[in-house]
Symmetry: C2
Subunit: 315 residues, 2 copies
């Protein structure tokens, strides 16, 4: 079945899905692929993602009745905590239940919230007590040692935390004084109006295309999809301006959106610690593929091609 | 309707679709968005894409009977011409008619060809006379003056041709001696087996996620989708290894694939000349968004976020 193995998979899709990469560790022969390094990583190098840091969105079932669940990990301090607090309040109030996916723009974003937000009569009231967050909070002070990803050829402003001062191993950029999360595939952000509006968190989007880095430091990122992004990225594209659905009938209903600790039977998830030796090997392999399929290592990788591996915990 | 304008669109999706960007040129006020610069570009700065450089793939109609046409522009010399020649032969032989989309892997690729290629009995014979292309042809000698995209902050190996020595304005990388096309969103490449196989061109894929730059110089790129990529990127993801569909029933039939000069009534297409003043302004605006939605220009853009604008010619 070699022709089926036409493109090796690992290293491109891990942020979007719980990692399930084919292949096994080789005792000898070519260097390991990123997916093989992930599979071989010892249990101690994986870190739990607590359920209270998860947001679980259930769309209405698909055309064949299949469930469509999307699991989002919320951004840890010091980033975006004003918006994250609002998102927690909105989820606790079950505010998104009955709202919808309203926009799907190819190679850009899927966006959801109240499809009638612009209608003064029909707009769904927001819960009381949401914070108004300042533009200043698009960035955070840089207060930890940075660890560049991989090898020469990477942009120097693209780092992963290697010190444990950030929870969760997130893609972060920095100018040496401040730091901010990066708009990679699968990252979830806060829709907003023109500045100085910064958005409440009720209107969210997820990146489904090439990383739109021009949005960094201009919109708040509050998390990332760790499972089920295919239920969003494969939706029909909207044909209105900017990919909005032109009719209410095209919108995809959101049945519920809950904090993970409110969801019965949720699997446990882990991420590969970005300070671990396995992560270092993985990042190096992403930047320099030496496994059998490849003939020329790239000599570098951009941060969005070194997604932090996330997995479901078995059993 | 301001809340609908939550994310400005231009600069992310242009390679994937004939450009249709909302907005108009401002007489004063904030700087222009990339889409506004494209819309204002004079006719003389657009260059025709001849129909014989196009490949037109018609999928079976969708669930509501809608047509699903994908238009691909073939790669010009000096790149990948052995494979491009094979693709022309395969299209002229109508070889893809009745084949199918067999693989859809989220944030990676959609792949098509003979779903039975691995079955010695059922495999579809290839036409005679296809070239076997050397691995050496993954790169070409660098024989023209390079023009880096945009502003400081761009990777220096990422260039567009500004001299006219390449037709079509393609994303190209270089090490100073050789040059090669880049795996951006929408680029079309040649599936292959393990090295030293280089693929015939009968098995093709298109990038539908963050640019998998590790594939550069390891697989041949033969073109890019200029219209209709949404018919591929929104397909259900395959649930087999590497996103292959697990059953033949899931595959999406390809009705026909033809060279553009064989297709009656095909619209005319143009690209914005990468040597034009409008393209320079557009690339600068992609790297430094100063239009009203933005509060902090990025100071750089990677080449896959500066897609060459392509449009249908009106009338």
């Amino acid at each position: 079945m070699m022709r089926k193995a036409i493109l090796t998979a690992a290293g491109a899709a891990a942020i979007a899905l719980a990692v399930a990469v084919p292949g096994s560790v080789r005792a000898d022969g070519p260097a390991r692929a990123p997916g093989e390094i992930i599979q071989a990583a010892p249990a101690a190098q994986w870190a739990a993602i607590p359920p209270e840091e998860l947001l679980v969105m259930d769309l209405a079932p698909g055309t064949t009745g299949q469930p469509r669940r999307v699991v989002i990990q919320l951004m840890p301090a010091p980033f975006s905590q004003g918006w994250v607090g609002n998102v927690r309040k909105l989820a606790a109030a079950h505010w998104w239940d009955g709202t919808s996916i309203n926009r799907v723009q190819d190679n850009y974003v899927v966006q959801w919230g109240d499809g009638d937000a612009e209608d003064a009569v029909k707009a769904k009231p927001l819960p009381a007590g949401l914070a108004k967050v300042s533009e200043a909070d698009y960035v955070a002070p840089l207060s930890w040692a940075v660890q560049p990803v991989g090898s020469p050829g990477n942009r120097r402003d693209e780092i992963y935390d290697g010190t444990g001062s950030l929870k969760g191993g997130w893609p972060i950029a920095s100018d040496g004084k401040t730091a901010w999360p990066v708009h990679c595939y699968g990252m979830v952000g806060v829709g907003r109006n023109m500045p100085p509006d910064t958005g409440s968190g009720a209107e969210l989007y997820v990146v489904i295309g090439h990383a739109p880095r021009q949005l960094d430091r201009n919109i708040a990122l509050i998390g990332r999809v760790i499972e089920g992004i295919e239920h969003l990225s494969s939706l029909p594209r909207g044909t209105g301006e900017m990919g909005f659905y032109q009719t209410a009938g095209e919108r995809v209903p959101i049945q519920s959106m809950r904090l993970g600790n409110e969801v019965a039977g949720l699997p446990r998830y882990e991420y590969l610690s970005t300070g671990s030796t396995s992560f270092a090997s993985y990042a190096d392999a992403c930047a320099n593929r030496r496994d059998a399929f490849f003939i020329r290592p790239a000599g570098g990788a951009d941060i969005c091609n070194v997604p932090v591996p996330v997995r479901r915990v078995k059993g």
